[in-house]
Symmetry: C2
Subunit: 432 residues, 2 copies
């Protein structure tokens, strides 16, 4: 079978599997993830509609035998690391084969009840797992609007952006061990904070707990130490993207972060969504990014359209709310000033190596309007403009029992490429 | 066999294995590491004198059968992670058994030529490996003298320490992927730097490449997310220590590090020594730490003697030098203001989880005298006081071809607990 030369699946492609028109997972998506199936097996999977696709079962039945995945044992595993290491020709061939097998007019899977039973699992009987064993987690700071908002609040509105910001994608190393999956509760951290006008810190629960609306990409195959990844080859090292909530304790951060950056303020939890949406699925939603002025140094100059039109929203569901919560922010990944290729090129320009399964997040994605701000800090403007919620509640920061729900999707012509959700509910701090 | 109640091996203990009197690896040390043996097997090992001890061979012969290591398959592995996960009772029992088997009057190994041949390997035929697969790497900033020197040079000599420094062990997340083993060459990084009085950065090789003399500890078993490790239990989660060279590009750092901390300036390489020296071996060298004033918050209050008297030195071997290089700094781990238990307690106070094999480094260890400063930045005082080397060379920062050699040891009564070395030679930057 010839592989598609266009990496995306045609907008009018349809599957024999019933997929609701508003499903995040039509045949045009076909994301990758890891899951514990109803038979307790931990497998690399994909998804269509409400069905989880066991790639190991397809592999065992020989359906990847003529692809670069053949013989590599990529799927009977509890994470995507090995698949991510295999590289783009393999990612693309596997996804193309999936699209072919699931097509409305393809009888192989459609007409083979035994194979279908082995391969397709009702999502309600499946537990999603962390998609990767994350080697290193990096967090960038690539939204100009977010950096400007923060600089305006805490420094000088006339010089809100620091001198380096327009010249390089500022970033820092985060904590990989505490990256958790959608649905994992997040305990309010305790730590040191400094009361106003005090000269010594106090210890206790963070009072200024916040979320940050971000996206992140997973790397693979990666570069050797000492060998930078050029910007125009960086997408070959990016499997795909997930939603990221970079939980932040603003009061802990304020006291600790000078001079070495955030540490305890962010090391207690980072939540990601379970499905890795591939760059191939996102190809129709690429567009030219913002004009970069001043022009970046050559190693950061982007020659292609690598901004991504991904619609994002944040819902807050307090303890008194029912349903899916109240949307408090709507943003879009296209607002990012530095794109994912530039981020990876910058990260590795020193020779820093990456490994399959590293996570690199965007930083808070804020847009130009007040309702597109990607953190409570900005939405309530440092607590000065509390958010009014339905039912009369107000929020300056997050309260115990609040659930934060990030959602993301690309709106195609007659279909939607969805990221699903990244949820987390705030538990009260430990006592003492 | 009864386990030792004192975790250290008696100062007058001797082995049937010949050990030179100045060897870093007498029977009182018995460190842990990972190695590729002459038979190409990758194993968890220990060392006595010039002999590498294959712990998997001892285990296979049943010599850990009555210890907590029994049946856990901890040694036929290429890293210490699983051993580190097993916890202190296992670490202690294995080391005590090793000491018993190697004692001068113990016939079991001494008189069994076949067993000796399987277990003891000449170190010249063995390749040391990275001791751990490092999950996360954290770097603290715990030397008051170093923080004061940096603050004096770059900020205000009258207010050299930032307000938070005496209240918490400042730290940041580092890059785990680029932690490399002793002997690995380090390529000079390229990146963005800002010329004096310029308003835009330039791209090129770092001109201000530096080392940092540090020590680091490896964690295990670790804590679950949301469950801090109390300061008085933290040593149960620390297998032991290694030497750490936190290579730093000062010019890249200066331009990038506000507001989120060092990133490219440090992500290109961090060198560690191969042998993990256990807290049990270091027990005789524990002492009370510096008086902490102001008194730390309760979660950081140390009730025991956890400063470590470890002598440290940095040698520089330029391309024109022969031999083992010229010692340019002598320091001691006892100069650290914050100890390893305080570091781990602070790291986890938010609920941040740790995993077996995380690396946490001290930050540059500078002492009170000019010749005890642990970085070139401080030794040459920001380039204003160049170091004079034998043969007439001068250094403000590191030159291509320079080899940096860190060494560390504890001076016991008639024996020495050595850390060995952490070496790295500077390769020229990539062109272009």
């Amino acid at each position: 079978m010839t592989l598609h030369s266009d990496p995306s699946v045609a907008p009018d492609a349809r599957s024999f599997v019933d997929v609701a028109t508003d499903s995040p997972f039509p045949i045009q998506n076909l994301p990758f993830g890891a899951a514990r199936l109803s038979n307790d097996r931990e497998r690399v999977v994909s998804r269509i509609g409400s069905w989880i696709i066991d790639l190991a079962a397809l592999d065992a039945a020989g359906h990847f035998a003529d692809t670069p995945a053949a013989g590599k044992a990529l799927f009977d595993l509890p994470s995507l690391n090995r698949f991510s290491a295999a590289g783009r020709p393999t990612w693309r061939a596997v996804r193309s084969r999936l699209a072919a097998l699931l097509a409305a007019d393809a009888p192989t899977l459609r007409d083979d009840e035994t194979l279908r039973a082995a391969v397709l699992h009702d999502s309600t009987n499946v537990t999603m797992l962390m998609p990767m064993e994350i080697g290193d987690y990096t967090d960038f700071y690539s939204s100009r609007e977010h950096a400007t908002n923060v600089g305006t609040m805490f420094r000088d509105p006339e010089n809100a952006l620091l001198p380096n910001w327009l010249h390089l994608p500022v970033g820092y190393h985060g904590r990989a061990s505490s990256v958790v999956l959608d649905g994992t509760p997040v305990r309010r951290p305790r730590g040191q904070t400094i009361p106003a006008d005090a000269d010594a810190p106090v210890f206790g629960p963070s009072r200024l707990l916040d979320f940050e609306l971000e996206m992140g990409f997973f790397t693979g195959p990666g570069n050797a130490l000492g060998e930078p990844i050029p910007v125009d080859q960086a997408d070959a090292h990016i499997l795909g993207l997930v939603l990221v909530n970079d939980w932040s304790a603003r009061d802990i951060q304020k006291w600790e972060y000078v001079p070495l950056g955030p540490f305890n303020a962010k090391n207690f939890a980072t939540t990601i969504s379970p499905w890795v949406i591939t760059l191939d699925a996102l190809a129709p939603f690429r567009e030219a990014g913002p004009v970069q002025d001043p022009k970046p140094l050559p190693y950061l100059q982007e020659s292609d359209a690598w901004s991504l039109d991904i619609q994002l929203e944040v819902a807050l569901r307090t303890e008194t709310m029912r349903g899916e919560g109240h949307v408090i922010a709507r943003s879009n990944a296209r607002h990012l000033y530095w794109n994912i290729r530039q981020q990876l090129a910058h990260h590795t320009i020193t020779g820093c190596n990456t490994r399959p399964g590293d996570l690199m997040a965007s930083g808070t994605i804020s847009g130009p309007t007040p309702d597109s701000r990607g953190s409570m800090l900005e939405l309530a403007w440092r607590g000065t403009q509390p958010l009014s919620l339905p039912g009369g509640e107000e929020r300056r920061f997050l309260a115990d029992g609040d659930e934060v729900i990030l959602r993301g999707w690309c709106e195609g012509d007659g279909y939607r490429i969805g990221f699903g959700e990244a949820r987390g509910i705030v538990l009260p701090a430990l006592e003492g």
